[in-house]
């Protein structure tokens, strides 16, 4: 009998305040996390006008290119992969555009090879005679900066390091590429 009375008293104890606060804190923390994740997922790729964080690309030829050192130039970042069929549609056009701007020294083309195998990637570059620097996206670091959703995607960074334009999917013509770059140059 005595025992049961003690039991009753124990149970009568109110829920301690700290438990309540902790329960709500955990719940709200969890919700905040989900909200953050959701915002990230909804945001999609880098927005036009946003500052693009600096990154570096080590090309297949061993050359290291740092975007910080390219301030004042327009940078064309093209994501591709050798296993990506649509990438092949725009490969020749990109090279043609590069040939057009190459001598001006105002525009830099960077090919970022997204999760690919080196042998096939080199074969791809050879097949399309691509001459601008290309390199693997090590640890997918660069694609995560741009939050790409797939390949091919192309991002054009203006002279101030801000995103000027982006193209999801392959370019259809050279003029489409050059008009994008020209408007970035004229900004």
């Amino acid at each position: 009998m005595e025992n049961s009375r003690i039991e009753e008293q124990k149970d009568h104890k109110k829920l301690p305040r700290w438990v309540i606060i902790a329960a709500f804190a955990i719940l709200l923390g969890f919700l905040a996390l989900m909200g953050w994740g959701l915002r990230n997922a909804q945001q999609g790729p880098v927005q036009v006008g946003q500052k693009v964080p600096p990154f570096q690309l080590t090309s297949f030829d061993g050359e290291t290119i740092k975007t910080e050192e390219l301030q004042g130039k327009v940078i064309v970042v093209n994501f591709w992969a050798s296993w990506c069929k649509p990438c092949e549609q725009e490969a020749a056009e990109l090279e043609e555009a590069w040939q057009f701007y190459k001598d001006s020294g105002e525009v830099v083309f960077l090919g970022v090879d997204y999760v690919d195998t080196e042998t096939e990637a080199r074969g791809y570059l050879e097949k399309f005679d691509i001459s601008y620097p290309n390199g693997p996206d090590l640890r997918t670091a660069i694609s995560q900066i741009f939050k790409i959703s797939g390949v091919p995607e192309t991002y054009i960074i203006d002279r101030n390091g801000k995103l000027a334009a982006r193209k999801i999917g392959p370019f259809i013509s050279v003029s489409e590429i050059t008009s994008m770059i020209d408007s970035a140059l004229n900004q």
Partner: protein, 172 residues
């Protein structure tokens, strides 16, 4: 895509053949026989099984049907022929494609949470359960009914239980 695959594989076989051919002239014939089967698809898959496709979600590399994955399997084969160990190949994949190619996050930094939190919560749960069980009162041995369960007795108990339960069931 299919045609492409095939030519790719044929190319690769040619390439391997070339390597083997040169080895034939360099090394002893025994070596060639040893090398001839190496690496078999099974040996490649043994490594691919522990890696995840970097572009598709949650699909192990050994069973992923896309062309990209076929290329990665070929890459593993290439590295194996080059004499790389399993650990080296896995590390190469991590360096190239990031941590997500591993089946489990490497246990360092924030990732430690993956391995620490569930046991911690479970221990917490055990403490809670224990604190509940601790309230159990010692029931004097006398109260415990005759532990013999013979059929007659069981029958009675069962019929009683049935009666009680039937009554209770009727309520719902």
């Amino acid at each position: 895509m299919i045609e492409n695959n095939t030519t790719l594989f044929q190319k690769r076989r040619l390439f391997i053949f070339f390597i083997l051919f040169s080895l034939f002239f360099l090394g002893s014939p025994n070596l060639v026989f040893a090398q001839n089967d190496f690496p078999t698809d099974d040996q490649v898959n043994a490594i691919a099984k522990e890696l995840y496709c970097p572009v598709c979600e949650n699909i192990p590399l050994d069973v992923c049907p896309t062309q990209a994955c076929a290329q990665w399997r070929a890459l593993i084969k290439e590295k194996m022929i080059a004499g790389w160990t399993k650990a080296e190949i896995k590390q190469y994949f991590v360096d190239q494609y990031g941590d997500r190619v591993l089946a489990q996050p490497p246990a360092r930094g924030l990732n430690l949470l993956v391995y620490i939190l569930p046991p911690l919560v479970f221990v917490g749960g055990m403490v809670l359960v224990y604190s509940n069980l601790k309230k159990i009162k010692k029931v004097p041995e006398k109260i415990v009914q005759n532990p013999n369960i013979d059929d007659e007795k069981y029958l009675k108990e069962m019929e009683e239980a049935l009666k009680v339960m039937n009554k209770k069931e009727d309520l719902s």
